[in-house]
């Protein structure tokens, strides 16, 4: 069973539907014992970093995630806000985040070279695979994925990046370190390529 962490926000059901389509059993849950019982954990969603962290703390899930992801080494996938809260802190709401991965989260610039940049970034952007990783197996390099966000991660250690994209700035679009994989883009809304990546995560032996 794959636990989809329910932190009372975000777009959880669409990830559950994508997993169902792929034939993987999942459960949307905020119960620590179900997250402990799961084989894998997904933290998906759309939302603000501050509210996400507040909800995770109020539900007692920050410590459960720390124990399961950092200590037990359970396979973990973060999507969209789920990549951003992995870092130490976010400019959004000045939020102190999980700190599983060193680094911070910054806002896209409003303009670049005098030209206005649309923020939030909403739409399909090309993703360059900068480091080979099995989660990308079967997905061509430079494939478009669907993004919805105003903030992007800046890892302390650039070596955790596995993909990048451009929106005014070149930004890290996906990271991987040990049992942790996370993407800025929405796997559940990115057509066949997104489903393939999601399927790869569900099958990978970490």
């Amino acid at each position: 069973m794959i636990a989809i962490v329910d932190y009372k926000a975000g777009n959880l059901a669409s990830v559950a539907r994508a997993l169902e389509f792929l034939g993987h059993r999942s459960e949307i849950t905020d119960r620590p014992e179900r997250i402990r019982a799961a084989e894998r954990i997904i933290l998906p969603g759309v939302g603000a970093a501050g509210a996400t962290m507040e909800n995770l703390r109020a539900l007692g899930l920050e410590s459960v995630l720390r124990e399961q992801v950092l200590e037990a080494g359970k396979p973990f996938l973060g999507i969209c806000i789920g990549i951003q809260v992995l870092f130490d802190r976010s400019e959004e709401d000045g939020a102190k985040c999980l700190g599983f991965v060193a680094g911070r989260v910054a806002r896209y610039p409003n303009s670049v070279d005098g030209r206005r940049l649309k923020v939030p970034q909403i739409g399909w952007n090309r993703v360059r695979q900068t480091r080979p990783h099995p989660v990308f197996a079967g997905v061509p390099d430079n494939t478009h994925f669907y993004f919805v966000n105003s903030y992007y991660p800046i890892p302390g250690d650039p070596a955790v990046a596995i993909a990048e994209s451009d929106h005014g700035v070149t930004f890290v679009a996906a990271i991987a370190r040990g049992n942790i994989v996370a993407t800025q883009f929405h796997l559940e809304k990115s057509g066949a390529a997104g489903l393939k990546l999601l399927d790869n995560f569900c099958r990978l032996a970490f």
Partner: protein, 279 residues
């Protein structure tokens, strides 16, 4: 750089698509799920369903359509038409839509934009506006006026000002539908589209008038649109989405390339056969 999006729009009444069925060789004619699947496989970047069901008691039918679409279409799709309250929006989003499109309801009650943005996030809220050119005058400085109820009702609101207000209230995207061009196949209202796009920082979707691939190129370049709604140009099969994208790519417009991944595409077909009860 973001790809320019092509968004087919399906008008749905009582659970059936009201126009454009010629291209479907084997699919259920008029079935919105079959048509959405068709466009998904053709490489649509997003899909819009516009519910034109007249009676309130039959609106539940649309939610069934949304649920069915969400089970097999894994790109964003939005639902508009008749959404007036937070509960209306919540029902559509819970059924599986990525976004809601609000139109006349937002003109009558602008606070619905900010309430929706606070409850579900700005990225969920598309402010759709119907616009007619009615001449420059005090209150309508641009000469473009917002109309409601399918273009029958004039509001005295300037379209550019309404776009700015919509952004300020928390809309995540703006869809600008020219009533003058709608159904004409003469091309998008480029001046209006550009004026709105320059007035706001959120993405702008051009709507109304596409009849030729060149019209899309114009919307993305001259009109500075981020996305374009297409209806009859794709519904009647004259310009399938891959042909539109190929035209745009040839003319230097960045569009999404559709990838084929055998294991995933095969699953789509297998699942459908199971759903139909095939062996």
């Amino acid at each position: 750089m973001l790809a320019k999006r092509i968004i087919p729009c399906l008008d749905v009444r009582d659970g059936k698509v009201t126009k454009g069925v010629q291209f479907l060789e084997n699919a259920d004619v008029g079935d919105p799920v079959a048509m959405a699947r068709h466009y998904y496989r053709q490489g649509a970047d997003e899909i819009v369903f516009y519910d034109i069901t007249a009676s309130n008691e039959r609106r539940g039918i649309m939610l069934d359509v949304v649920r069915a679409v969400a089970r097999e279409i894994f790109i964003p799709f939005s639902v508009g038409g008749g959404l007036r309250t937070l509960d209306d929006m919540r029902a559509v989003l819970l059924a599986g839509a990525e976004k809601v499109s609000i139109d006349s309801g937002a003109v009558r009650n602008p606070v619905i934009i900010s309430e929706g943005a606070r409850a579900f996030g700005s990225q969920c809220i598309v402010l759709s506006m119907q616009v007619k050119q009615t001449g420059k005058r005090p209150g309508v400085a641009s000469g473009y006026e917002v109309v409601i109820d399918g273009g029958r009702q004039f509001t005295g609101k300037d379209a550019i000002e309404w776009a700015r207000e919509g952004e300020r209230l928390g809309a995540g995207e703006l869809c600008v539908n020219s009533i003058d061009r709608d159904g004409t196949n003469l091309g998008y209202e480029l001046e209006l589209t550009r004026a709105v796009s320059e007035a706001v920082t959120i993405p702008v979707i051009a709507s109304g008038g596409a009849g030729e691939p060149e019209h899309l190129r114009q919307a993305f370049t001259i009109g500075a649109a981020d996305a374009a709604i297409v209806a009859s140009i794709v519904h009647y099969g004259t310009h399938p989405i891959p042909a539109l994208k190929s035209y745009l790519r040839t003319h230097g417009v960045e569009v999404r390339e559709q990838v084929t991944i055998d294991t995933i595409d095969k699953r789509s077909i297998d699942k459908r056969n199971i759903d139909r009860g095939a062996p």
